[in-house]
């Protein structure tokens, strides 16, 4: 059995029309990335630019969404304004639940509204509402107003862009329910180009419990694993930020634009330091008993005397890396100030941090002057960075307009490519562990550490003495299996819980029978499908460039051998056919 019939909502912003898109035969993908990729493939215009009005944005949930613990993500597929190619991003909080309650497996958005609008997607259809009053507002204020304006409290999901998305910054993000984001690859700019400030999704669809006994058994098994065993211990405790000091000790924490891979101040901005000094609570995506989202309180004196303001911000490893160690930041307060700015503008934190780190070095090298940026940047000093972030959004000069296109494009024109931490047009994530990480980031469908966890493969390789072939094999196998998890939009933090056997049982409990082989074949099929689409959109592994900086700074205490990386790339190319 294939499960229930899919329901796909289509919204055309230009014509202000909505409808149900036929999706017969797509049940086989189980939703998520498989469904989104297929829908996207049918609509994308490979000749047109990413911000062209015709380009589609697809949002999708998974077949298990909201039915099982940690099946909490929604996926977005779009053409990335940052790389020009494939755009794929995931976000949690209430998105998956809201899609489920609204009764949609996917939502396809095309066209461009003639003036700023937001979409209210409820159980009785879609409303196009004026966003005139919201345009220009930061993510927080826009969210506050939308909460006031829209129904569905507690069960709705509220996606919105900040000024960065409106102004077309190529790495603008979309804020999802305050604490999660469609971060990477610039979905914010795509929505901005569509004049779409926000999307609120809510509903009250009911779903009967299928096969109660079977359902309960597997639900309880998953729940117990998540809560009572140590499989997810890391996420219950310090969260991903535990990595900061661990990676620094291993010599794998990119620091000061990767001039170093250990950070002498790592302990001061470690997960422990954040938790002990400022953690106020944890929150969870709807339907996840783990609650890995760490909220810290930044308390700030704004005037002499006892004049304080405070803001609650979520932090995790990637943020502390990109806006912390990579910029040489020596205290949580400084990291928080940058996190706050990035949140309010609606920028991807990793891309922003990597760009700032490069700019700092570019100024030190004399490639850019103080007048060029309007400020002087120095590692560990927040003020200049805040100024640059503001200017990236405002774009007061041609230089800033260029920088707003992302680091890869900027260095094509400005030089300084040798120390620009890009891979496949995309800024590097927070690990410097070795060749598998570099290759994984460069060839992964979204150039993300989450594509294939190359950083973990490096660590296993160094323990077990794996050779290049084995590492390449692991990278591909991991990406394929993650495609399956991403069809179901299972939180990747829960990947140890959702083994193939557990996935099968969970699916069976909601009436979808799949063998282990079928699941593996699905992962393979999506791998191929994405690779085809990526090639059509211009990706070629032959054009990859690895900055000398990656080889100069030791990873896990060793220099990465360019020849080995090249060899791995060749092997990958032969096997993956890209």
């Amino acid at each position: 059995m294939n499960g229930p019939k899919l329901r796909v909502l289509q919204i055309d912003l230009t014509e202000r029309r909505v409808g149900v898109l036929p999706a017969d035969g797509l049940e086989h993908y189980l939703g998520g990335i498989g469904l989104a990729a297929k829908l996207f493939a049918g609509l994308v215009d490979v000749q047109a630019a990413p911000l062209d009005a015709h380009q589609p944005v697809v949002l999708a949930g998974g077949a298990l969404a909201a039915f099982f613990p940690m099946c909490t993500k929604g996926v977005a597929v779009f053409r990335s304004p940052l790389t020009g190619g494939w755009g794929e991003s995931y976000a949690g909080m209430r998105l998956a639940l809201a899609l489920r309650l609204a009764g949609w497996d996917a939502i396809v958005i095309t066209g461009r509204a003639d003036r700023p609008v937001y979409l209210s997607i409820g159980p009785h259809g879609v409303r196009f509402k004026s966003a005139a009053a919201l345009w220009g507002l930061d993510c927080e204020e826009a969210g506050r107003l939308l909460r006031q304006l829209e129904p569905g409290r507690g069960f709705r999901s509220c996606l919105r862009i900040g000024p960065a998305g409106e102004k077309g910054v190529a790495f603008a993000s979309v804020n999802v329910d305050t604490y999660r984001h469609f971060g990477r690859l610039g979905l914010g700019a795509v929505l901005g180009a569509k004049n779409l400030k926000a999307i609120v999704i809510y509903g009250d669809r009911d779903y009967p419990v299928p096969q109660p006994k079977q359902y309960r058994e597997i639900y309880d098994q998953i729940y117990r694993q998540a809560v009572r065993t140590d499989v997810m211990e890391k996420y219950h405790a310090l969260g991903t930020s535990v990595n900061v000091s661990v990676l620094s000790e291993l010599g794998a924490l990119p620091t000061r634009n990767l001039q170093q891979s250990t950070f002498e101040a790592a302990e001061r901005i470690s997960g422990r330091a954040f938790a002990e000094g400022s953690l106020v609570r944890k929150v969870a995506c709807a339907g996840c008993p783990v609650g890995c989202i760490h909220i810290g309180l930044r308390r700030r004196q704004f005037a002499p005397g006892y004049e304080y303001e405070s803001v609650a911000l979520s932090y995790d490893h990637e943020l502390i890396y990109a806006l912390g160690s990579l910029l040489g930041m020596s205290s949580p307060e400084k990291v928080y100030d940058l996190i706050e700015a990035v949140e309010l503008y609606g920028l991807d934190a990793i891309s922003a941090g990597v760009l700032l780190a490069w700019l700092t070095e570019a100024q030190q090298n004399g490639l850019l002057r103080e007048e060029d940026l309007g400020c002087w940047l120095e590692f560990d000093r927040v003020e200049g960075y805040l100024k640059v972030l503001e200017n990236l959004v405002e774009q007061p000069s041609e230089l800033y307009a260029l920088l707003a296109q992302g680091l890869a494009r900027a260095v094509e024109r400005l030089g300084g490519k040798e120390y620009a931490l890009c891979l496949g047009g995309h800024e590097m994530a927070g690990y410097h562990t070795g060749p598998a990480n570099l290759l994984g980031l460069a060839v992964g469908a979204r150039h993300s550490h989450l594509d294939n966890a190359g950083y973990a493969i490096d660590q296993k390789a160094s323990k077990n003495g794996w050779d290049s072939a084995r590492m390449v094999h692991e990278i591909m196998a991991e990406e394929k299996w993650r495609n399956v998890l991403n069809c179901l939009c299972i939180c990747l933090f829960a990947r140890e819980v959702y083994t193939p056997a557990v996935v099968q049982k969970a699916l069976a409990a909601v009436g979808i029978e799949r063998t282990g082989e079928e699941l593996m074949a699905l992962g393979e099929e999506i791998f191929q499908l994405k690779n085809r689409l990526r090639s059509q959109l211009g990706y070629s592994s032959e054009r990859l460039y690895f900055a000398p900086r990656y080889f100069a700074t030791p990873a896990l205490g060793r220099q990465i051998d360019p020849a080995q990386l090249q060899e791995m790339l060749e092997l990958y190319r032969q096997q993956a056919g890209v």
Binding site: G154, T178, A284
Partner: protein, 135 residues
Amino acid sequence: MPKVLTAPGMKKCIGCYSCMLACARTTQGSLSPQKAALAIRTVGGLQSRLVADICRACPDAPCAQACRCGALVPRSGGGVKFNPALCLGCRDCVEACIVQVIKFDEVKNRPIVCIQCGTCTRYCPHGVLLMEERA
């Protein structure tokens, strides 16, 4: 003494909705947390605090008093027992609930009433919800 539902640890709540999901599937046969007899919600977005709307197990339950067909009867120790077979779907109990936590299921034409079964507490990862004896 039978125990009644309390939420003494709301400050520890992570907003995971596991309690609502457990309630809905167990008492209503539904996978939607909206069908739960309790609600966890924020009071102004996720940056604010989380609160629990739960049945307070009123002594002299006003909902049961309002129910004229005997579908809701007071339970000794607090709270009510609900007999769906006797329910006409009049919504008098919904109106009568002084803390406004009784929801109404339009499709099944009957209220969603907390029966003090404690299922929600067993799925709370942080021990926020408890079944406690009345002091």
